[in-house]
Every structure is written in C-alpha cells, then in structure tokens.
C-alpha cells in the first residue's frame, strides 16, 4: 500500500512536573522546565509505526509546530520509527497564542501538500486539554474522523475504528483518507532506544513556515488571566442528617 501517514506531535511540559503559574498570571512557567512529547502523541506515533511494520502504510511523517526546541520532539518520533519530520516554525508571540484552530489549518495544508492518506493525532494535549485539533482538521479537509480510538484496523481501503465513548465502546467504519485521534488504551509506546536515536540523526527534518502553507496563525482568542485552582478548603463534620440539611440551606445550596 502506498499510504502515507502524517502524525502530529506536540512538545508539552512533562507530565511529572509540578506546574507553577507565572507571577504576572499570564501563563505558566515554562523556562527551564522539563518538556517532553505529549503522551497521547507518543501513542499516535506508536500506532503509525506499528502500521508501517505491518506493511499497511509506506511512510510515517512526524509534524510539530513551534520554535527550535520542538525539533527534539520530532527527533524522538524519528527515533521511535518515523521516517522523516516536518518542523513548522512558529515562535514568540505567535507560539504563545497557537491553538487548535491554527494547528488544524496547518495540518490540513500539510496533508494536501504531502498527499497524506491518514492523519493520526493524540486525542488531546496535556497542557491545554482542548481535544479539538483532530476534529477541526477533519472538518477542514472534509475527511471522516475516528476519535478516541482504542483500536484501529485497515480493512481493504476502509478504516475500522473502535472508539471509547461514555457508554462503552463504539465500532465504526470510515473511508480513507481519514483523521484518527489516539486514546490511552490504543497501544503502549515503545522506548526510543539509544541505537535508534543514533540512527534517527540521519533522518531528515524539513523546515516550513505557516506563511508557506498559506496559513494565518493569528489567534482569535485572548487569554485574560491564568490562576491556580483555589486551595481546597477544610470540610466541616456534622453529627446528624438534620444538621447536614441545615448547613446546606445556610450555604444556599438547597
């Protein structure tokens, strides 16, 4: 099969790091903080590489949008088995306001340019938890989507996707080309072994600018302030149900 898969990978603050809000409350502290690939993006890369190993797709291309540092994330994807990378350069103010709408426009443009047959993304990023990029990309391309995938199979030229939904599991069949977003149980990502990291050094990462793709990255959203969640208040113990009802009425809750 001559299919080409585009995988989006996002560089986020590492999941184990304790997040701190900047003193000016415009965002969180990112300077000097450990970053790594979004865990759901890792799962997406793993799925793409698995498809390649099963010979169902021919080429896996890893894409990331951001400043120079995102090249590390692309390199990790290459070390996991992607064939080449594309770095969409977005930096400074543009990067701070980069959100799902702009990224999905970029991905849509790239999918057309690279003639991709399948786009696999993580279901959401652990920094903004938007859960929108996959869906928006599909809409812009007018492609079918299989989101929250816990199982993906290619059958003939259709995609069978098992989705994790609130009520349980839903199995759908969609036409290719399509967009899939990876959920937690899709697979267990492999380690990028040191020998593979060394081999990945030889793989290419192309540089593009959003303007080259005809995408305007200006944001329609403005962040007003960022605050820590309120400190948890101590609870109050009551003796009887009667007291409980009384307290709730006092607090205006009932």
């Amino acid at each position: 099969m001559s299919a080409r898969v585009l995988v989006g990978v996002k560089r986020v603050i590492d999941y184990a790091v304790k997040i701190r809000v900047k003193p000016d409350r415009t965002g969180v502290v990112t300077d000097g903080v450990k970053h790594s690939m979004n865990p759901f993006c890792e799962i997406a890369v793993e799925e793409a590489v698995k498809l390649k190993e099963k010979k169902l797709v021919k080429e896996v291309v890893a894409v990331s949008c951001g400043p120079q540092q995102v090249q590390e994330t692309i390199r990790t994807a290459l070390a996991m088995g992607a064939d080449r990378g594309i770095h969409v350069e977005v930096s400074g103010k543009d990067y701070e306001t980069l959100g799902p709408l702009q990224v999905s426009k970029i991905l849509a443009a790239l999918a057309k340019k690279e003639q991709a047959d399948l786009i696999i993304l993580g279901k959401q990023a652990i920094d903004d938890d938007c859960n929108q990029t996959g869906q928006m990309t599909a809409a812009l391309l007018d492609w079918p989507q299989g989101t929250f995938a816990s199982e993906v199979n290619i059958e003939a030229d259709k995609l069978k996707v098992v989705r994790e939904i609130d009520g349980g599991l839903e199995t759908i069949k969609i036409n290719l080309p399509a967009v899939v977003t990876a959920d937690l149980r899709l697979n267990t990502p492999r380690y990028a072994t040191l020998p593979n990291i060394m081999k990945a050094k030889k793989k290419k990462i192309a540089n593009v600018k959003p303007a080259d793709l005809g995408v305007d990255v200006s944001s329609r959203l403005e962040v007003l302030k960022v605050d820590e969640p309120p400190q948890r208040q101590a609870g109050v113990k009551v003796e009887t149900v009667h007291d409980l009802v009384g307290k709730l009425k006092e607090a205006g809750r009932i």
């Binding site: 070390a79 380690y191 990028a192 072994t193 040191l194 020998p195 990291i197 060394m198």
Partner: protein, 574 residues
Amino acid sequence: MNLNKLFGLSRSVSLGRNVFAPRVAQKGDCLHHFQSRRFIRSSARSLTYAKDLFLGKVNKAEVFPFPEISKEELEELNQLVQPVEKFFNEDVDSKKIDHEAVIPPETLNGLKELGLFGIQVPEEYGGLGLSNTMYARVGEITSLDGAIAVTLAAHQAIGLKGILIAGNDSQKAKYLPRLATGEHIAAFCLTEPGSGSDAASIQTRATLTEDGKHFLLNGTKFWISNGGWAGIMTVFARTEVIDKDGQKKDKITAFIVERAFGGVTSGKPEDKLGIRGSNTCEITFEDTKVPIENVIGEVGGGFKVAMNILNNGRFSMGSAGAGMIKRLIELTSEYASTRKQFNRSLSEFGMIQDKFATMALNAFVMESMAYLTAGMMDRPGVPDCSLEAAMVKVFSSEGSWICVSEALQVLGGLGFTKNYPYERYLRDCRILQIFEGTNEILRMYIALTGMQYAGKILTGKIKYMKKGNVGVVFEILGKKLKDSVVRTVDFGLTGKDGVVHPSLTTIVEEQLVLKKVADVLINLYAMTAVLSRTSRSVSIGLRNHDHEVLLTNTFCKDAHFKNNFLLTQLQKSE
C-alpha cells in the same frame, strides 16, 4: 575571569607548594601506568595537571576553561538520556532486584535493547560510540539501581575495555559486535583468593602447548562480577617469558577467554551486603584452551593492560555518585518539607539543613570532578588522567557513603526500614570504597606517583644545579622566596645541595604520611574542578550561577582549612 577567583585559586594551591625531595630509589614497580593505546589521533598531549601539582605548578591551561561539548552533542545527549531515565523510573523494580538478588531477564533485555551494553563501543562495531563525557552522563542515571550499574560497568568499563583499548583489529571485529548488543556479557578476571590489592602476585598460569598454537589456562579467580553470566572474559595469568637477557621470567599476560573454550566453571553467586542483584562469583579454569590469537597486547604485557583498563573506567564513579545523591536530595527534601515536629517542618531545623548542604556540596563537587576528568580524557591525543581518575574515585566513594547516611538520618526510623530505598542505597554504596582499587591503595598510588614524578623532575634540576647551571638555582630559589611570601611548607627534606633525607628512600612505608599527602591532593583537585566549572558558569551567565558560586566558595573554604591542617600535621611529623 574574575580576578578574585584567580587569587583564591592560587592562594589555595600555594598551600600545596611542597618541595618534595627526589625519590632516589624506586621500590616496587606496581605503579606503572604507561598508556599503551594503539590508535593514534593527533599529536599526543601529556596531561600532567595533577602530577604538576606536586611541583607546585598549576597548569591552568589544562583545566580552564571547563570542558564543553558542542550544542549538537548536548542535544543528542539529552535525547539519549530521556528514554534511559524513563526506563529506570518505570520498568526497574530495584526493591525486587535487591530482595531476590537477581536482575530479571526482562529488565536485562530492556537494558540491552536500549543499547546500554555498548555505550563506548565504536559505532562500526555496533555500539553507540559515546565519548567519556556522555558515558559519565548516562552513568548518572544507571546508578539509580546499584546492581544494574555494577553489572553494566563490569561488562563495559572493565570487561570488554581490554579489547577496546588494547585489542587488535581482528579481535575487535570478532568480539565487540556481540558484546555491544549484550548477546554476550563480559567479565574482568584479575582478582584471586590470594591476590586482591596485590594484583601482581596472581598465580593463575597459562602455559604454551607443544604446538605453540594455544595456551592452557589453569587457576581460580575470585570476586568476579558477571562471573556467572559472562560468555567472554578478560583473564590475566602468568606466562613464562624470555626477556632480552635470555632470562626466563614470569610475566602477566591478558587473554580473551570464551566460556565456550571449555574447562570454565563458575561457582555459586556470593551472598552480599549490597548490589545483591549483581552476580559475583568464583571462576575456575581447568586446562582451558586459549588460542594465541586471543592474547591482548603482548605476551608479558598484561599488567600494563590491566592498569590501563582500571584507570580508564574510574572517573565515572563521580557522576554515578552525583546522580544518586541528587535523587536522594529529591526524595529527602520532599519528606523534610512535609514532616512536622515541634510544630515546624524538619526543613526549618539547622541540623537538617546542614545535611542537605552536605549532600548538595558533595554532589556538586563529584559532578565537577567527574566531568572535568572526562572532558580532559576526551581531548585528542592519549591523555594520562589516571591520577585524576583515582582522585575522583576516592572522593566520590567516601562522599557517597557520607551522603547516603545523612539522607537516611533525615528520615529517622523510616529511613531504617525496607519500605524506603535508603537502606538499600546505603548497602549498595559501601562497595564503592572497596572495589576498583581500594581507597587505601589509591591513596598510596596518588601520593607515590606524584612524588615519583616530582622526584624525577627535581632530580633533573638538581643535576643541573650540580653542574653549575646558575639559572636553575635562581629559579628554584626564586620560587622558594615567592613561597615564603605566601604560606609555604618546607618539609626540610632537601638540604642546600639536594641531599636526600634518609627517610625518603623508605617513603613507601610511611603510609600515614602518604595518606595525608593524597588527601591534600584530592582536595586540591576538587577545588580546581569546582572553580573551573563555576568560572565558566559565571562567564556564560548560566542560570543559577550565583548558587554555584556559593557552593564553590563554601567547599573551597572548607577544603582550604582541611589542607592547612593536614600540611601542618605533616610538618609536625618531622
């Protein structure tokens, strides 16, 4: 560079300006350490930083600026480190490994797949081909589990190192690829029940067969790490050699021995206090047939090979110790900040803060020393950093022991239980002062090698003086005058015409003197390392450089004081 720092450095080093009398007689030749590397890079540089300290010379060019790696290498290193860290945090159950005294096969496989069995093997033989600096960095992470760290080190820092640095091309091509992937595990077989520190006295024998095509190996080796698993071993044995006078002599030769050669039996694993997951056992060779092509280097040249191998791997103990201490600081500080007694958290109490300071200082110094040494070793040429590496090893092994103990103390009773990893780190740590050259032997090595070097140079100068070379006289006198302006210690061992004090020929026996000398040197080298590192941090404006300055100043003040004391004691002993 900040003038203050220069002054501080020269002040602290001038305390080390001793005038050592020339060692006329050299007793015992167990301290040869000529590098016998085959591969030649650019013109050789003889790095003599530590040795020159014995002459009161500070070769600033060798240690300033602090060694740097290129931006690409740094990025590559960060990339390499991430999966290893992840593996050790998520897939290594250190408690289980310690309890069952074995590393499970899945963990070993994971390590092999990550490529950790061939870190320094060149890429053309299937390894990662990383430099010493990068190896030290990876060592910071593997030290999170003592048993794994020792298994990996026994395999590549000493087990296959012989083939790497002294083997010929066909030996490398034959053995390195499978060793790099971990298909075969390597072991280093030197120690015997009767020969530990006294390595030159080994009794294992290799006799040439009638047809001259094989050596028959007979003997028993002891305390061999990876002994039970190793498929390929570097074995040292006595062979009969005919030297240039036509005399028959017994000299040590290094061999590559495959378990498949037959006659190799491993005893049962030793039940140890710490690093219990690492396999340590006895190996017996009974008429093991070793082809002559498997001799490493020359027949009779084995001792030098052994010393080179050991000197080559020592420096990484610094970064391993630092990595472990940093992890301990992480774990302990969380506890100290949350545990409250007397209505205050532990972190508010001075004695607890003192423990954290000790840990921070030690980790900082160990890191600096390790990377300075690794950086020097990575320079082109064939640098001889054996003295520096020995100093790193002594400092790090003792520093780690102290810091683990302090970390355990912070947790009090909890630290004493097996529910927390501290007691395991403590037990694992104890071996650091013993293996790879006991600290006692290394102190002797540091002191004597330095004095031998200084002795050679000074003997030469004194010969000049005797020949009436006036210029040299003035040079030495001038130095003495300069010394007396700043504090100096004159051992009173040299008279005006270079007469040797009678006790000098037996300096080898004066172990307590040597111990103090070695301690002074180790402190000096440690100070050099932190000064070099912090100077660089300040000059490039590294984040948190002010904290580094604090750490450096604190350590140097302390070390300066200790050196003062040691030198005074040495003077008094006259």
